[in-house]
C-alpha cells in the first residue's frame, strides 16, 4: 500500500474568480489590407493614368451648389496607396503584438482606398458623386428589401435562400397586376402577395415537413424561374400590351428635405418605393427589438424549445414571420418592373436575392447593418456603371464582378466574427 501513497499538491497562487481573456488574433485582416493595397498599387503602376479627376458634389438643379473638387489622378491614387500601406503596416504591428486591428483602421482604409481608386479610374473625367450615390441607393432597393426579408426569416430560425425567388415572383406579379389594374400601387400589392405565396411554400416544406431549408430555398428559386419564364413565354409575351406594360413610379422630391445639399438629392429625390423602403427599415427594426412580437420572433430563432415551454407556438410564429418576410422581399421585386424597367423579363433579378442573402450575413442578422451592407453592394454595382461611362481602365467584366468578389470576402469572415441565431436552419419538432 505504501507505493500508492499520494501527496496532495496545491498551487500556491490564488484562484481567479473572474473569467480570463487572452487575445486571439487572426491573420485575415492584415493579409487582406496588404493584398488590396498592393493590388491598387499594381493597377496604378501598370495602367498609367494622366490628368486630373474632378469630384462633383451637387447637381445642377441644386438650390445650394457645393464646389467641385479637382485632384491630380495619379498623385492622389499613389498617396492613397501610401496611406493604405501604412494602415496595413499598423495592422501587422498589432498582429505581431497579439492585438486586434480596430474598426477605425478598416474604415479609414476603405474610404481612402475608394477615393484613391476613383481618382485613378476616372482620370481626366468628372465623378458625379451625387449621381453615384443616388444611383447606388436606387440599385440597392431590391437588395435592401430582400435583406430585410432575409433578416426577419433568419431571426425566426428559417434560412431564406428563396429571396431571389421572392424578388422574381414579386417582379412578375407587379408587372402583371400593375398592367391589368393600371396602377403602380396595385402592382406593389401584387408583388407582396407573390412574395407571400413563395414564402408559404417555403414554410410548408421547411416548417411543416422539416425539409432542409437550404434545399427548399434553392429549389424554390429554380421553380420560380421555371414558372415565371413559362408564364412569360406562354401568356405575357403574346399579350405584351395588356399584360406586361405596367405603369412606372416616377421620382418624387420631398419638399425641403430634397433641397439639403448633397443629402437631399441622394436620399429625398427618389421614387415612392424608396420612401417605402425607409419606412420598412424603421418598422422592421422597431418591431424586432422593441415589441412583444419581435421578442418572440427572436426567442423562436434562438431557442425554440424555450419559447415552446413558455407557451409560444413556435411554428405559428415562424410561419407568420416568414410570410411577413415574404411580403417585404416581394415588394423589393416590384422595383424591377415598376421602377427600373417597365416590363417583366425572364430571370430579370439576375441573382440579386443571393446578394441580399450575403447582405444578411454581412450585416450580422441586424436590419440596420444588413441595410448598410445591401447599400454597399448597390454602390459597387453602380460604381461599375458610372466608371464604364467615364471610360475606366478596368475592364467592364472585372467591375461587374466586384459585388460578387466583395460578397465572397464578406462571407469569408473578413468583416469579423458574427453569430447567427442559434436555431437557424433547424426545424422544430414538437414531442
Amino acid at each position: 500500500m505504501s507505493a500508492a501513497k499520494v501527496e496532495a499538491t496545491v498551487p500556491d497562487k490564488p484562484v481567479e474568480d473572474e473569467p480570463q481573456v487572452i487575445s486571439v488574433v487572426s491573420l485575415k485582416t492584415p493579409v487582406l489590407l496588404t493584398v488590396v493595397a498592393v493590388a491598387l498599387l499594381a493597377a496604378v503602376l501598370l495602367g498609367s493614368q494622366a490628368g486630373d479627376t474632378t469630384f462633383r458634389l451637387s447637381t445642377r438643379s441644386d438650390f445650394f451648389e457645393l464646389p467641385e473638387i479637382t485632384v491630380p489622378a495619379e498623385g492622389t491614387a499613389l498617396g492613397a496607396v501610401v496611406v493604405m500601406l501604412l494602415l496595413a503596416a499598423e495592422s501587422w504591428r498589432r498582429y505581431a503584438t497579439r492585438k486586434r486591428t480596430p474598426g477605425w483602421v478598416a474604415a479609414v482604409y476603405a474610404v481612402v482606398g475608394l477615393v484613391g481608386f476613383l481618382s485613378w479610374a476616372a482620370a481626366g473625367g468628372t465623378v458625379p458623386v451625387v449621381g453615384l450615390l443616388a444611383g447606388a441607393l436606387a440599385l440597392a432597393v431590391p437588395l435592401v428589401f430582400g435583406a430585410l426579408g432575409g433578416v426577419l426569416g433568419e431571426r425566426a430560425g428559417i434560412v431564406n435562400i428563396a429571396i431571389d425567388g421572392q424578388l422574381l415572383a414579386g417582379a412578375f406579379a407587379a408587372a402583371l397586376v400593375g398592367s391589368v389594374a393600371g396602377s403602380v400601387w396595385a402592382g406593389v400589392l401584387g408583388a407582396m402577395v407573390a412574395g407571400v405565396v413563395v414564402a408559404l411554400i417555403l414554410g410548408v416544406f421547411a416548417i411543416s415537413c422539416y425539409v432542409d431549408q437550404v434545399i427548399v430555398g434553392v429549389v424554390l428559386n429554380v421553380l420560380v424561374i421555371g414558372v415565371t419564364s413559362f408564364m412569360f413565354t406562354q401568356v405575357l409575351a403574346p399579350n405584351t400590351a395588356e399584360l406586361n406594360t405596367p405603369p412606372r413610379f416616377s421620382a418624387w422630391a420631398i419638399p425641403v428635405l430634397g433641397d439639403i445639399p448633397l443629402v437631399g438629392p441622394i436620399l429625398f429625390r427618389q421614387t415612392p418605393i424608396v420612401y417605402l423602403l425607409y419606412v420598412a427599415v424603421a418598422v422592421v427594426t422597431y418591431a424586432l427589438y422593441r415589441t412583444r412580437w419581435g421578442l418572440r420572433v427572436r426567442a423562436v430563432g434562438e431557442h425554440p424549445k424555450a419559447a415552446d415551454t413558455v407557451g409560444i407556438n413556435v411554428n405559428r410564429t415562424r410561419y407568420r414571420t416568414v410570410l411577413i418576410a415574404g411580403a417585404i422581399a416581394g415588394t423589393g421585386g416590384a422595383f424591377y418592373t415598376l421602377v427600373s424597367v417597365s416590363q417583366f423579363n425572364r430571370e430579370m433579378t439576375g441573382g440579386a436575392g443571393y446578394i441580399a442573402l450575403a447582405a444578411v450575413i454581412f450585416g450580422k442578422w441586424d436590419p440596420i447593418r444588413a441595410t448598410l451592407a445591401a447599400l454597399l453592394f448597390g454602390f459597387a454595382s453602380n460604381l461599375q456603371g458610372v466608371l464604364s461611362v467615364l471610360g475606366s481602365p478596368v475592364p467592364a467584366q472585372f467591375m461587374l464582378m466586384l459585388p460578387y468578389v466583395v460578397t465572397v470576402f464578406a462571407v469569408a469572415g473578413l468583416v469579423g466574427k458574427s453569430r447567427a441565431p442559434a436555431a437557424v436552419g433547424l426545424p422544430y419538432r414538437k414531442g
Binding site: K28, I161, I201, V204, F205, C209, Y210, V211, D212, V214, I215, V216, V218, V219, L220, V222, L223, I225, G226, V227, S229, F230, M231, T233, Q234, V235, H303, P304, K305, R346, G351, Y354, L357, A358, I361, P395, Q397, F398, L400, M401, Y404, V405, T407, V408, V411, A412, G413, L414, K417, S418, R419, A420, A422, A423, G425, L426, Y428, R429, G431
Partner: protein, 436 residues
C-alpha cells in the same frame, strides 16, 4: 461561421431521460411518424456543433423508391395543369365552360396529350419516323443530354455526401469549358492526345474553381452555398473577359465573345456514327459513375467523405482533417462538373466556346443529385430521366409551342416532393413508414 464551439450554457450534458427497449436496441421511430421519441426534443436544443448537415444528408440519402415515383407523377400532374391553363384553346373553351363543359375537357385532353406525346417522341422513340434507325434517334439524344447531367450531378452529389452543398456547377462548367477550349485550340498535340489534354484541362479548371469554395469553408467557415453562387458570377465574367480578348479565347479577328470552333482532333468522337449526335461524353459519364461508386462505397477516402458529411465533429475527433476533406471533395466534385463542361465544349457544341455553354446544366445538376439521393446509381437514373425531359422538352417546344421552361418547373417540383415524403404520403394517403 458554423463550426464555432457553442457557448457553455448550451453545452448540455446528455443523460437524456429516454425510454429504452430492454433488448439493447432503441426502436428508432421514423421522423415522419406522429409519435417521435423524446430524444427528438434534444435535437433542437443541441448546440450547433451538431451540424445540421448530417440530418440533411440522411434525409437526402435515404427514402423509398415509391415516394420517388409518386413525386415524379405528382410533378407531372402539376405540369399538366400548367399546360392546360395556359393553352389558348383550353382557355377559349373555359369561357363557355358552363354551356359546353365537354369542350373544355376535350381541349384540355388535346393539350396535355399533345404535350406528353411530343415529350415521348422527342425523348424515347419517334413513332412518326419511317424506320427504326430514325425512330430511335430521340433516345440517343436523351443519352447525349444525360451525359453532362450525370457527370455534373455526380459532382454535386459527391460534395453533398461530404456535407458540402455545391451550387457552383455553373461557374465550374464555364471555367472548365473555357480551359478545355483553350487547350484544344492552342495545345497543338497530336491525335487523341489533344482530346485527352483538353478534357483533363477542363476537369482541372472545374476542380480548382470548386476547390476555392472548399478552401474558404475550411479556412474561414464561409458558407459554401453563398461562395459557390458568387463564384458562378465571377466565373461567368472571367470567361466573358477571356472571350472578349484577342489572344485569350476570342476567335481571331472577331468582335463577338466567342472562340473559334474546336479543332477536329479535340472533338469527342461520335459513338454510333454520324447519324446520331451521341458522343464519347456519355461513356465518360458512365465511367465517372463507376469511379464515384467505388470511391464512396469502397475507398478509404470515400469513407472519410461520408464520415465528415454525416458527423463532422466525430470525424474531427477521430483525427480526420475536416477542412482538408472539404477541399479534397470539392476538388474532385469540381472536376466531375468540369467533365460536364468539357463534354459541352468538345462534344455537344464543338462550334466554339461561349458564355452560355453550361446550358443550365450547372443548376440542373443540383436537382439531378437531389433526385438521385446523392447515390451514384441514383444520379445515373435521375440524369437519364432529366436527359429525357431535356430532349423531349425541346421537341415539345418545337411541335406544340409549349415553352421548354415547363421542364424546369417539373424538375424542381419533383425534387420538392421527394424532399418531403410526409407530404407525398399525405397526398396519396400512404401509411406512414414504420420500421424500414
Amino acid at each position: 461561421m458554423s463550426d464555432e464551439k457553442p457557448d457553455l450554457s448550451q453545452d448540455q450534458p446528455a443523460q437524456p431521460d429516454r425510454p429504452r427497449a430492454s433488448g439493447g436496441v432503441d426502436e428508432k421511430a421514423d421522423p415522419g411518424a406522429q409519435n417521435s421519441p423524446p430524444a427528438e426534443l434534444e435535437h433542437v436544443v443541441r448546440p450547433r456543433r451538431q451540424q445540421q448537415w448530417h440530418t440533411v444528408v440522411r434525409s437526402i440519402t435515404t427514402g423509398n423508391a415509391l415516394v420517388a415515383v409518386l413525386a415524379v407523377f405528382l410533378a407531372v400532374v402539376v405540369g399538366s395543369l400548367m399546360i392546360m391553363f395556359t393553352d389558348e384553346d383550353v382557355r377559349a373553351s373555359a369561357s363557355y365552360f358552363f354551356s359546353r363543359p365537354g369542350d373544355f375537357f376535350a381541349e384540355s385532353r388535346v393539350a396535355i396529350e399533345g404535350a406528353y406525346t411530343a415529350l415521348f417522341r422527342g425523348s424515347i422513340y419517334n413513332t412518326r419516323a419511317e424506320d427504326f434507325a430514325t425512330g430511335i434517334r430521340p433516345l440517343t439524344e436523351t443519352l447525349k443530354f444525360a451525359g453532362p447531367l450525370i457527370a455534373a450531378g455526380l459532382g454535386v452529389g459527391l460534395a453533398f455526401r461530404a456535407g458540402m452543398f455545391n451550387i457552383g456547377g455553373r461557374g465550374q462548367m464555364l471555367l472548365a469549358g473555357g480551359a478545355s477550349g483553350y487547350v484544344a485550340i492552342n495545345a497543338g498535340l497530336p491525335g487523341p492526345l489533344l482530346l485527352v489534354a483538353a478534357v483533363l484541362a477542363g476537369m482541372v479548371a472545374g476542380g480548382i474553381w470548386a476547390g476555392i469554395a472548399g478552401l474558404l469553408k475550411a479556412r474561414t467557415g464561409a458558407h459554401e452555398v453563398i461562395v459557390t453562387i458568387m463564384l458562378n458570377y465571377i466565373g461567368f465574367y472571367l470567361l466573358f473577359y477571356a472571350l472578349s480578348k484577342q489572344g485569350w479565347l476570342q476567335a481571331p479577328g472577331s468582335v463577338n465573345p466567342k472562340s473559334q470552333a474546336m479543332p477536329e482532333d479535340a472533338v469527342m468522337p461520335r459513338l454510333l456514327g454520324d447519324r446520331y449526335n451521341l458522343h464519347l461524353g456519355f461513356l465518360l459519364a458512365l465511367v465517372a459513375v463507376a469511379v464515384v461508386w467505388w470511391l464512396l462505397n469502397r475507398s478509404a477516402l470515400g469513407y472519410r467523405f461520408r464520415a465528415v458529411g454525416e458527423n463532422p465533429n466525430a470525424a474531427r475527433t477521430a483525427g480526420i482533417d475536416v477542412g482538408r476533406t472539404y477541399v479534397v471533395v470539392m476538388l474532385i466534385a469540381g472536376s466531375l462538373v468540369g467533365l460536364a463542361g468539357a463534354n459541352q465544349v468538345l462534344g455537344t457544341v464543338p462550334s466554339g466556346v461561349t458564355t452560355d455553354l453550361d446550358a443550365g446544366i450547372g443548376f440542373d445538376a443540383i436537382t439531378v443529385a437531389l433526385l438521385g439521393r446523392s447515390h451514384p446509381l441514383g444520379i445515373l437514373a435521375a440524369g437519364l430521366l432529366f436527359g429525357a425531359f431535356k430532349a423531349g422538352g425541346f421537341s415539345m417546344q418545337a411541335s406544340e409551342g409549349i415553352p421548354v421552361d415547363i421542364v424546369l418547373v417539373i424538375q424542381s417540383l419533383i425534387v420538392l416532393f421527394i424532399a418531403a415524403p410526409p407530404l407525398v404520403r399525405a397526398l396519396f394517403r400512404l401509411p406512414t413508414k414504420e420500421a424500414v
